[in-house]
Amino acid sequence: MDVQRILSKLPYQEPFLFVDGISRVSDDDVEGHYTFKKESAFYQGHFKDYPVTPGVLLTECCAQIGLVCLGIHLLSQHLTEKMEVAMTSSEMEFLKPVFPGETIKVQAEKRYFRFQKLKCTVKMYDASGDMVCHGTLAGMIKTTGHD
């Protein structure tokens, strides 16, 4: 399955799409990128007079690339129109803030994908190559109408 097809199958849209592109995908790992838009509404409140990307959105970005994009690739043979995803656990550590307009890269490595559960280790890097956050995420991913 090519990258464009994975992106077209993502079950997100603005203002909650946190994937711009995928640079690499295999059965074991994925790498993708995203630029946090300066004009995003959440910067007005997080924080007052000091806009910084919320950690939950860094986690979400890691999940959309590391769990959902990789999951779509892994499910590609069984992909139907409807897909259900749910994050089931996250354990993240944050090392560096991400400011409005920054472009980040997410690398995710599959730990296992069994019984519709995908568990991955994820790492996010900023444009200068510094690690922003890392952790372990898991989610249930299934297509409806297929097992």
């Binding site: 089931t88 656990s89 296992y112 069994r114 019984f115 519709q116 559960k117 898991a138 989610g139 249930m140 097992d147």
Partner: protein
């Protein structure tokens, strides 16, 4: 392996995934994983993976579908061990 050893090993594995408000003592053979023990489907997958390692067996999707209670898990383990 004796039957009670299998059961206690199974119980130990399940206990690791119980939410804080569920006591280990409340695990019985009739306990329903999701309905009574409050274990979500993602943790149920981890229980299955731990059982595979502990008993050196491999479960399939249909085993997962049939595994509703602790007793079901025990029956599935036994069936796999004789295969």
């Amino acid at each position: 392996m004796k039957e009670n050893e299998k059961y206690s090993q199974l119980k130990n594995i399940v206990a690791a995934y119980l939410p804080e408000d569920i006591k280990v003592d409340s695990i019985t053979e009739n306990s329903d994983f999701t309905g009574e023990l409050n274990i979500n489907s993602a943790n149920l997958v981890d229980i299955v993976l731990d059982l595979e390692d502990a008993f050196d067996i491999r479960l399939e999707n249909e085993d997962m579908d049939r595994m509703k209670t602790v007793g079901d898990a025990l029956r599935i383990i036994n069936a796999k061990l004789v295969e």
